[in-house]
Amino acid sequence: MIYKCKNCGGNAIYAPEKGRMYCPHCESEDSEEQNPDDSLERCVNCGAPLEITDYTSACKCQHCGAYLIFNERVEGVYEPHLVLPFRIGRQAAAAALDQEFSRRIFAPSDFMSAKSLQKMEGTYVPFWLYDYDADYDYAGEGTKVRTWRSGNTEYTETSYFDVQRRMNVDFNRIPVDASYAMEDGAMDLMEPYDYQALMDFAPKYMSGFYGEVYNQKAKELEERALQKARLSSEQLMQASLTGYVTMRAYRKNLKLNGRGEHYALLPVWQYFYRYKDQVYEYHVNGQTGKVVGVTPVSRAKVLLYAASVFAVATAACQIAVQILDIL
C-alpha cells in the first residue's frame, strides 16, 4: 500500500513535527488517500523491483523514493496492537546526535568533521509489551547494631528482627524488542518510552519510515521480560528492607503471572557513520531523542586528561596535608 496526496498525487508521509500526514510535494496536510495495491516484489508506485527481507513491513523504494507499506505484514497476525508514532523528525534526531557527540569529549578531535554519514532511516521496531502481576512473599531475619562506650569498655548491642513482606506489583508493558537486526542491549538502553502517546495501530503512521514485523513470537522472547520484572521486583523489595545492618532471607517466593502481551511498533532513528574505515551505529529514540551508540575514543586524549587528574589530585592532596599539618 502507498499513501498518495489527493491534491497532487505525490507520496504523503507522516510528519513527526506536525503530528499529521503531510505531502512534501505540495505541502498539503491530511490530504492522504490510501492506495491499497500491494506487492512484495515490485514498487506499487513505479514498478521497480524491491529488495526487502522476510521481516520488512515498510520500506522506501530505492528507485522512486516512495514509502511503501506491505498490507500482508500489517494485517492479521502481523497487525500491531499499538503504535507509538515518531515525535522527533529527521532534523531533530540529527541535532540530538550532534549534541551527544559534542558531549563525548574523548572522541577524536576530527570525528565530527571526518565522519561520513552512510545511512539514516527512521524505523518502526517491533516490540512485545508484557503485562505481569508480581506476588512477592519474603521473610527474613534482620539485625540492627548499636555500639557505645563506657570507660574503657565498648558495648555492642545486636537486635534481631523477624521481617515479613508481601508485595504486589502490577507491571505494565515491559518492552522487549522482537527484531534480530536491532541489538538487544541498544534497544534496552532506548527505554523508557512515554506510553501515554501509544495509539491504536494505523498504517498511515508508517508512511515515511521503514518497519518490521516481529521476528520472534511473544512466547520466545518472554524470558527477557521476566528477567526485567524479576530484577525490578527484587529492587523494590530490597528498597523496603532498609535500616538493617544485615538481612538474611529464609523465604523468598516471587510469582509472576502474565496478564498478556501487546504487539507494538516503537520509533527509532538509525544512523550509520563511517570513520577511519569503521562503521559506527547510533540509535535515537524517535519519541524522546535519547541517543545510544559508541563513539571512537582518542586514547591520547584520555591519557592527557588522566595526567591532569593525577597532577591536580596529587596537588590537592599535598595541599590538604599541608593544611592539616598547620592545623
Binding site: 528482627f161 523477624d162 515479613q164 508485595m167 584520555v302 592532596c317 590538604a320
Partner: protein, 293 residues
C-alpha cells in the same frame, strides 16, 4: 582547550580553594611567628652552645648556620633546641644510670641526662625544649641510634605520630646530607610548635602521590572505552501507579544480644616523651615511638 577547561572546571576550583586556604593559613602562620619573641628566663643553665657536633659530620660553616637558625627558632618557639651528634659507644655511660637499659635505650639515657644535668629548658631548668641525639657509633646491635626528646611545652605538644613524622623528616636525608637533616629537625619542630595542632595526623609523603595515581587509573579505566549510553529506567518505570502495594510489612523484634570488649589504649594517640630509632643498621629496629628504616 575550551573543552578541557570546562571539563576540569570544578577540579581546578577546588584546587584553587585549597591553595587559597593554605595561603591564608600560611600567612597567619608567618604572622604568628613574626609576632613571637620569647625571652629566655632560665638563668640557672649556663650552656649557651646548642650544636655539639662530636661526630664531626658537619662543617664549621654548617654548624654556624645551624646555630643561627636555632637561635632564631628558640625565640619563636620559646623552647631550647639542642642537637648532639656522637661517635662513641654509650653502653657504659647509660648503664651507670640505668643498669638494665637495652642498647636501643642508650641514646635516650644520654639525651635525658644531658638535659637534666645541664638544667636545659627555655623557661626554667628541666623546662621547655627538645634535644636530638644522633650517635654514629654502632652499638652491640650493630645499629646507629637516634633519640628525640621532648620536654615541658614540647612534651605537651608532641604526640607519638608527630615524633614519628619529625624523625621521618630527619631520616629521609641524614645519611647523605646530615646538615639538611638537622635543619629539618629544627624547622619541623618550629613549624609544629607554631601550628594550631588540632590534628595530630601524620600522613606519609607517598599518600598524596598514591591518591593521585589511583584517581588517574580509575579515570582511565572509566574512559578508556566509550559507553553506549546510560540506563534511564528505574525499578518503578513499568509499575502501575509508580509503586508496589505491600499487603504485609511487619518488623517484629525477636531478641537482643550485648557483647563487650576492653578498649586497648593505643600509643598512637598519646603523648610521648621522646622517640628513638636507628639508622644505618638495615632496618627492623624499633624504639620509643619511632620506626626504623
Amino acid at each position: 582547550m575550551k573543552e578541557y577547561i570546562r571539563y576540569f572546571k570544578w577540579l581546578y576550583i577546588i584546587l584553587a580553594a585549597l591553595a587559597g586556604l593554605f595561603l591564608l593559613l600560611q600567612v597567619g602562620h608567618w604572622g604568628t611567628a613574626k609576632a613571637r619573641n620569647h625571652q629566655r628566663t632560665n638563668t640557672t643553665c649556663t650552656v649557651t652552645e646548642r650544636v655539639f657536633d662530636k661526630a664531626d659530620v658537619l662543617t664549621d660553616k654548617q654548624e654556624k648556620k645551624l646555630r643561627e637558625l636555632i637561635s632564631k627558632r628558640e625565640k619563636q618557639t620559646g623552647c631550647d633546641i639542642v642537637l648532639i651528634t656522637l661517635k662513641e659507644p654509650l653502653a657504659e655511660f647509660a648503664r651507670m644510670y640505668e643498669p638494665n637499659a637495652a642498647s636501643s635505650e642508650y641514646v635516650r639515657v644520654y639525651a635525658e641526662q644531658f638535659w637534666e644535668q645541664n638544667g636545659m629548658g627555655y623557661d626554667k631548668p628541666d623546662g621547655d625544649g627538645v634535644i636530638l641525639v644522633d650517635n654514629y657509633s654502632r652499638e652491640d646491635d650493630g645499629k646507629i641510634h637516634t633519640y628525640f626528646s621532648t620536654n615541658g611545652r614540647a612534651f605537651e605538644a608532641y604526640y607519638t605520630e608527630d615524633i614519628d613524622r619529625l624523625l621521618d623528616n630527619v631520616y629521609s636525608c641524614v645519611e647523605r646530607d646530615p646538615y639538611r637533616a638537622y635543619k629539618r629537625y629544627v624547622n619541623t619542630f618550629y613549624h609544629d610548635m607554631l601550628g594550631w595542632r588540632t590534628f595530630h595526623v601524620s600522613v606519609p609523603g607517598s599518600v598524596p602521590w598514591a591518591i593521585g595515581l589511583i584517581s588517574a587509573v580509575i579515570f582511565m579505566f572509566l574512559n578508556w572505552r566509550s559507553r553506549k549510553g546510560t540506563k534511564t529506567t528505574t525499578a518503578t518505570t513499568y509499575v502501575a501507579g509508580g509503586q508496589p502495594v505491600f499487603r504485609v510489612q511487619t518488623d517484629r523484634f525477636l531478641r537482643k544480644t550485648v557483647t563487650q570488649r576492653k578498649i586497648e589504649s593505643s600509643s598512637s594517640g598519646g603523648r610521648s616523651g621522646g622517640g628513638g630509632r636507628s639508622h644505618g643498621g638495615g632496618g627492623g629496629h624499633h624504639g620509643g615511638g619511632g620506626r626504623s628504616r
